[in-house]
């Protein structure tokens, strides 16, 4: 029997791909030298320990080889990447003060709309610097600190010094070292003891200049018994040159605290997304990752949860959608380092049009971590025959008193399912879209409403195409 297939068009990225004129007032030279680092640091008027830290990281960066174990990074010429760009604007607190051009971009992306829909706070980063930052007054009154990292370094130097790159050290890997050397911008959130932030905080990163790198640093500390939902969005327009994103996200979740960290990443298809995210969870704390990877040319992204305190919990819900020319190597790492910790991983990937989706995961249970429970489930869907989809979970168990389950499935949309839906009067295209929406439903329901709608739109756009 000849299998009929639906051919699906590529995504319409028009709103993401609008480029603004590069109006930056300062751009560091391409490539990386101690002089550039010193210049960035002095432009930002940083304390000496930070400059020393940057220079130390640069040394580590230079001493480490390019990682070769996953994706092909040979096209990424670090000397071509500009590490620091300061847009021609001062940070604004009122949307009206943001320059028209930058505002336009964010309008198109729906950022202020999101704020109008009463998100608790919004920060927006354009190239290397944060251009817009706002937090509701009642949150400030509760003692919540939400500001950009550069500002936090000056205003809350002690806290920053205590936590900054302690969880992800520059020794971790080459791009963590690079980040340590040239980081700029990002968000700093501090939620004091017992405070429940009931509406999400949000930040948006946008990379506009060609051949630039974005190295924002996100540092979130949720104190004992506090609760927070943080949303991060990323995008960039399409240029012919390769761009690089090597951000760092460090999350500290204290006793009984809960943090939900949601990301919708839709970088343009010339982006190398080599991001590092890590959370450390103390006693009875919870980290919930919701992660959607749609864009970029190459991604290496494995958010890691370290369950360090007894009864700590982690939950990872992720979706990866790889299309033409994309190699998305994503997954998650969970380390059970204390007794009675639990983790759930639910990962879905879709590949189409020659895209390559790779799930790479690590689940580790250390020696003293008894009574741990973990369930890992990975599902992959291939929408055509030009694509590739691999799954590589690593499970390391150093203790017997545990309960571990892992399963993975790979496959295509079954002809029977489509036939059934079509027999009910639904056309083939809609039937396919319905099945894909059903496939990603466990993820969409985890997202705030406007993101869930965006995700559904994204899928609809992806699946609009001719049937052949």
């Amino acid at each position: 029997m000849k299998n009929k297939k639906t051919y699906i068009k590529d995504i319409n990225r028009t709103i993401y791909d609008i480029k603004d004129k590069d109006n930056s007032i300062y751009k560091s030279q391409k490539g990386l030298t101690p002089e550039i680092i010193k210049e960035i640091s002095s432009k930002k008027n940083e304390p000496k320990w930070m400059l020393d830290f940057r220079l130390k990281s640069l040394n580590i960066y230079n001493s480490k080889p390019m990682p070769e174990w996953a994706v092909d990074l040979s096209d990424l010429d670090m000397d071509d990447i500009t590490t620091y760009i300061k847009p021609n604007t001062k940070q604004s607190h009122s949307w009206e003060d943001v320059p028209e051009e930058i505002k336009d971009t964010f309008e198109r992306l729906g950022l202020p709309e999101a704020e109008r829909k009463s998100l608790a706070g919004v920060g927006a980063q354009y190239d290397s610097e944060v251009v817009y930052h706002n937090i509701r007054k009642e949150l400030v009154d509760q003692g919540i600190i939400y500001m950009d990292m550069d500002k936090a370094l000056h205003e809350h130097e002690e806290i920053v010094k205590e936590y900054f790159m302690k969880l992800i050290t520059p020794d971790d890997h080459k791009f963590a070292a690079l980040h340590g050397a040239v980081w700029s911008g990002g968000s700093f959130v501090y939620v004091p003891k017992g405070v429940d932030v009931d509406i999400p905080l949000q930040s948006y990163f946008r990379l506009n200049a060609p051949g630039a790198g974005q190295f924002e640093h996100t540092l979130i500390i949720v104190e004992k018994g506090a609760k927070l939902h943080f949303i991060e969005g990323c995008s960039a327009p399409q240029y012919k040159v390769n761009n690089l994103h090597a951000g760092c996200v460090e999350l500290f979740i204290k006793e009984d605290a809960t943090l939900r960290y949601s990301t919708i990443e839709n970088w343009s298809r010339n982006m190398y997304n080599l991001n590092t995210k890590r959370a450390i969870v103390e006693k009875n704390g919870t980290i919930e990752w919701v992660s959607g990877s749609f864009g970029s040319k190459v991604s290496m992204l494995y958010p890691m949860s370290i369950l360090a305190g007894e009864g700590a919990r982690s939950e990872f819900t992720g979706i990866t959608f790889a299309s033409k020319g994309q190699h998305l190597d994503t997954g998650t790492k969970v380390v059970h380092a204390a007794p009675r910790t639990t983790s759930t991983v639910n990962s879905k990937s879709i590949s189409k049009n020659g895209g390559y989706a790779f799930y790479r995961g690590l689940l580790k249970v250390t020696k003293g971590a008894y009574d741990c429970k973990s369930t890992v489930s990975c599902e992959s869907l291939m929408l055509d025959n030009d694509s590739k989809s691999d799954t590589l979970p690593i499970i390391v168990l150093n203790n017997d008193n545990i309960d571990i389950g892992h399963e993975a499935k790979i496959g295509r949309i079954s002809d029977e399912a489509i036939f059934y839906l079509m027999s009910r009067g639904i056309d083939e295209q809609e039937a396919k879209a319905m099945i894909v929406r059903g496939f990603v439903e466990p993820i969409t329901k985890e997202l705030p409403l406007e993101y869930a709608i965006e995700l559904n739109n994204l899928i609809n756009i992806e699946l609009e195409g001719t049937i052949g």
Binding site: S380, M382, S389, V396, N401, I404, E407, A408
Partner: protein, 353 residues
């Protein structure tokens, strides 16, 4: 040899291989005339099938070592349409004088033929043995090859075993691997499901205790359409045993309508045992079904409690559960003496170990 990091094989050097002079082949004389069964003398002059060049087994240097230094093994050709019911049995028994075994086995099943081969590796106590093997299987159209490997070398012996099969259209290769012994084991089985409806099956059990280390890798490469593979592994770890399981299902482009299933179930019976599982699914073809599942943990407490409430001790209850998990695979051995020896061995280790 990066893959050896996980079980800690460091700075390994090959011993200078001594001769293996013992008889190891038993097969009915009458049947021998129908097939071509020879002791291996020269690998390079084997007429067919060609040995897969890209096959690296447990490591390129191990394959090379076999090709250079083999001291035992068979070259077996089963003619077209001949179905041999009586199994061929190889017994390798390492002792003081014959403590190195480097066996090369070549099994060539021609169209629609059928054969069962049982290979038993064991050694007398206290001998520091070394085993490095390479078994090459070629199953032509419609043939069936059953191969059962039983490894119960002593706890001073290093054991390396590379196995390769090429499976043609509608042929079946059923590989059974029973890993009970050795100080350290590196095992690899790679099967290429070359054509339409090729079928490849791997069932294995392992029992690790004391300081035993096991690195087991099973790979199924689907090339043909409607090909089917199955990996099922059950194991139990006691004491300080360390195990690495690597299962790979690789669907190459063009392997339409193929199916692959990979299952591992490990019982952890000691807080100091270590278990790594790396089940990989690689897929270049949309129209396939691939599935893997791994489960690990202690014996279900309610199960244990139930059996103990019937008057069995905890050890006996655990033994019963492990045995029942292993039984379907042990029952595939067509020789009563081997089956009962294995059962006694498992019982001894679980109760008195």
């Amino acid at each position: 040899m990066t893959s050896w990091k996980r079980i800690g094989l460091k700075d390994f050097e090959f011993p200078k291989i001594v001769k293996y002079n013992k008889k190891y082949l038993s097969f009915e004389e009458g049947a021998k005339k129908e097939v071509s069964l020879n002791m291996v003398t020269d690998i390079t002059s084997l007429p067919s099938p060609k040995i897969e060049d890209n096959f690296t087994g447990v490591g390129t240097e191990f394959i090379l070592n076999v090709k250079k230094n083999y001291n035992a093994g068979i070259d077996l050709h089963i003619p077209k349409d001949l179905k041999i019911k009586e199994p061929i049995r190889l017994d390798f028994y390492l002792d003081e004088k014959n403590n190195h075994l480097v066996d090369f086995n070549n099994i060539y099943a021609k169209e629609n033929s059928e054969i069962t081969i049982v290979i038993d590796y064991k050694s007398i106590d206290n001998v520091e043995g070394f085993h490095n093997g390479f078994t090459n299987i070629f199953a032509e159209k419609g043939s069936v090859v059953n191969i059962i490997k039983l490894q119960r070398l002593n706890s001073k012996t290093l054991n390396f075993d590379s196995n390769f099969s090429r499976v043609e259209s509608e042929a079946k290769v059923n590989f059974v691997s029973i890993e009970l012994g050795s100080k350290l084991t590196g095992f690899n089985y790679t099967s290429i499901l070359e054509e339409e409806k090729s079928y490849s099956n791997l069932s294995s059990i392992y029992l690790g205790d004391k300081e035993m280390k096991l690195d087991l890798e099973y790979t199924m490469i689907h090339k043909g359409i409607r090909s089917q593979s199955n990996i099922e592994t059950r194991g139990a770890l006691l004491d300080n045993a360390r195990k690495v399981f690597r299962g790979n299902l690789d669907f190459k482009r063009g392997s339409r309508s193929s199916k692959g299933v990979e299952l591992e179930n490990v019982l952890l019976l000691s807080p100091t045992s270590k278990s790594d599982s790396i089940p990989a699914l690689l897929c270049e073809e949309d129209n396939v079904e691939g599935e893997h599942a791994v489960s690990a943990g202690q014996i279900d407490k309610s199960k244990l409690f139930y059996i103990m409430s019937r008057g069995l001790s905890e050890k006996e209850a655990k033994k019963l559960i492990v045995e029942s998990s292993f039984k379907p695979i042990i029952d595939k051995i067509p020789f009563e003496d081997l089956r009962s020896e294995i059962n006694i061995d498992i019982e001894r280790r679980l109760i008195h170990g």
